[in-house]
């Protein structure tokens, strides 16, 4: 889950962090860019996930 003290947007719903303190369920990958709040293209694999923001690039995590 995005850290609301650092991220400008919630990565679960895309709202500005001042409106949402972080609502993403622990089993959801991020769907919104924490920097700009735009919806990302997300691919989930058996052992991780990859999310791409058009502006801010790719974020990859092993789970």
């Amino acid at each position: 889950m995005s850290n609301p003290t650092e991220a400008a947007h919630c990565d679960g719903c895309g709202k500005p962090s001042i409106e949402c303190a972080g609502c993403r369920w622990e089993y959801d990958p991020p769907h919104y860019c924490a920097q700009c709040g735009v919806r990302m293209a997300v691919n989930v694999s058996p052992n991780g996930w990859k999310a791409r923001c058009k502006t801010h690039g790719e974020l990859t995590r092993l789970t």
């Binding site: 719903c13 993403r24 990958p29 989930v44 052992n47 991780g48």
Partner: protein, 359 residues
């Protein structure tokens, strides 16, 4: 951003148990479970629809006894092994169908953004991840109505590559098939083809309107006809009644699958089913047990929604009739860590192995 994309509030309200019968008393339940035990373990016969229906109405206090019977049935009919599988959404979102539970439908405003078919290297990497987790099966899943020619060619390229490089059996889930496509996939080495009935025929129009239940049944028939193993599952918690779950069990018996993945609804924001309450954990255990008791020979797989529905009771599902699981992540959301699942199997002294249907 539309309001429909706001996160779903996880509800723990009791699932409405809508049924046509009066729940059994504790004594009646004990007798019904004993009779089922005699039938399944001594006489080694399948239960009748009436016997199954009676078991669906045991009181909550009898669910652990039902689960215990289901575990014995699983051991007696299938053995102790547990089959482990990894799945990959190789083409995500943008699906033209309107399955009301699914965040990958293009008909609904969900968080899922459509992405094209992954590159061969990405699919191979996911298969390697799956093999490293000790799995024996890897399923390539595509959010499509059915495969077009380009998709068929990609699948036919990927299946032998994955099998050759990792040794995994390769399963495919690519929607509705034509007879010619079923033959090509079988000839191309697809070990198992997934096509879920999801729910009872009588309830299906409440869940999907862009195709009908019969089209699903026909693809299931084609899969078996062309020699692939059929993986045909269910999704519980979509508002169906007890009688409709029993109806589905009868229909699953008719399509005769090798594997039945059992999913529980995880309500997805933006879908028509976003508001539905979770299946309660004990209710989930009851239905895992009933699926095993109704389908004693099948590979009964823990699939989507188990973390959401069962929480801490996941090990109990393994002793209620489950003998397979999806390890790692699901199609659009994450699973618990593979290490937790492997530890659970080790703690339960359940060996990981290769399974096929008991004849």
């Amino acid at each position: 951003m539309s309001d429909t994309l706001q996160p779903v509030q996880i509800s723990r309200k009791p699932t409405p148990s809508r049924g046509s019968r009066t729940p059994l008393t504790a004594d009646e339940a004990r007798r019904a479970i004993r009779a089922a035990e005699t039938a399944l373990l001594d006489e080694r016969r399948m239960l009748t629809a009436e016997e199954l229906a009676e078991l669906a109405y045991v009181p909550d206090g009898s669910v652990p006894s039902l689960a215990s019977l289901a575990h014995e049935v699983r051991l007696a009919w299938c053995g102790p092994e547990v089959e482990v599988e990894g799945i990959l959404s190789a083409k995500t979102g943008g699906c033209p169908e309107d399955c009301h539970f699914c965040s990958q439908s293009s008909k609904f405003d969900t968080v899922v953004k459509a992405t094209p078919f992954l590159d061969t290297d990405e699919v191979l990497e996911a298969a390697r991840e799956t093999a490293a987790l000790g799995a024996s099966e890897f399923c390539i899943v595509l959010a499509v109505r059915g495969p077009d020619e380009r998709t068929m060619q990609r699948l036919l390229e990927l299946v032998p590559l994955i099998n050759g490089e990792t040794g995994l059996n390769v399963a495919v889930s690519a929607g509705i098939l034509t007879p010619e496509q079923a033959k090509r996939l079988a000839d191309g080495g697809v070990h198992r083809y997934n096509h879920n009935l999801e729910t009872a025929k009588s309830y299906f129009p409440q869940v999907v309107t862009s195709h009908d239940w019969t089209e699903r049944e026909q693809t299931c028939e084609l899969v078996r006809e062309h020699g692939m193993e059929l993986c045909c599952g269910a999704l519980l918690g979509m508002g169906e009644s007890i009688d409709q779950r029993l109806e589905l069990l009868g229909q699953l018996r008719e399509v005769d699958p090798t594997e039945v993945p059992l999913n529980f609804l995880k309500p997805m924001a933006g879908t028509p089913f976003a508001h539905l309450p979770a299946v309660e954990p004990l209710e989930a255990i009851r239905w895992i047990a009933l699926f095993r008791i109704a389908l004693p020979t099948v590979i009964l797989r823990y699939a989507g929604g188990r973390e959401f529905t069962l929480g801490d009771l996941q090990a109990m599902g393994m002793t209620s009739g489950i003998n397979a699981l999806i390890i790692g992540n699901y199609l659009t959301y994450l699973g618990r860590s593979p290490q937790e699942d492997l530890k659970m199997l080790d703690d339960l002294r359940m060996p990981v192995g290769l399974l096929s249907k008991v004849i």
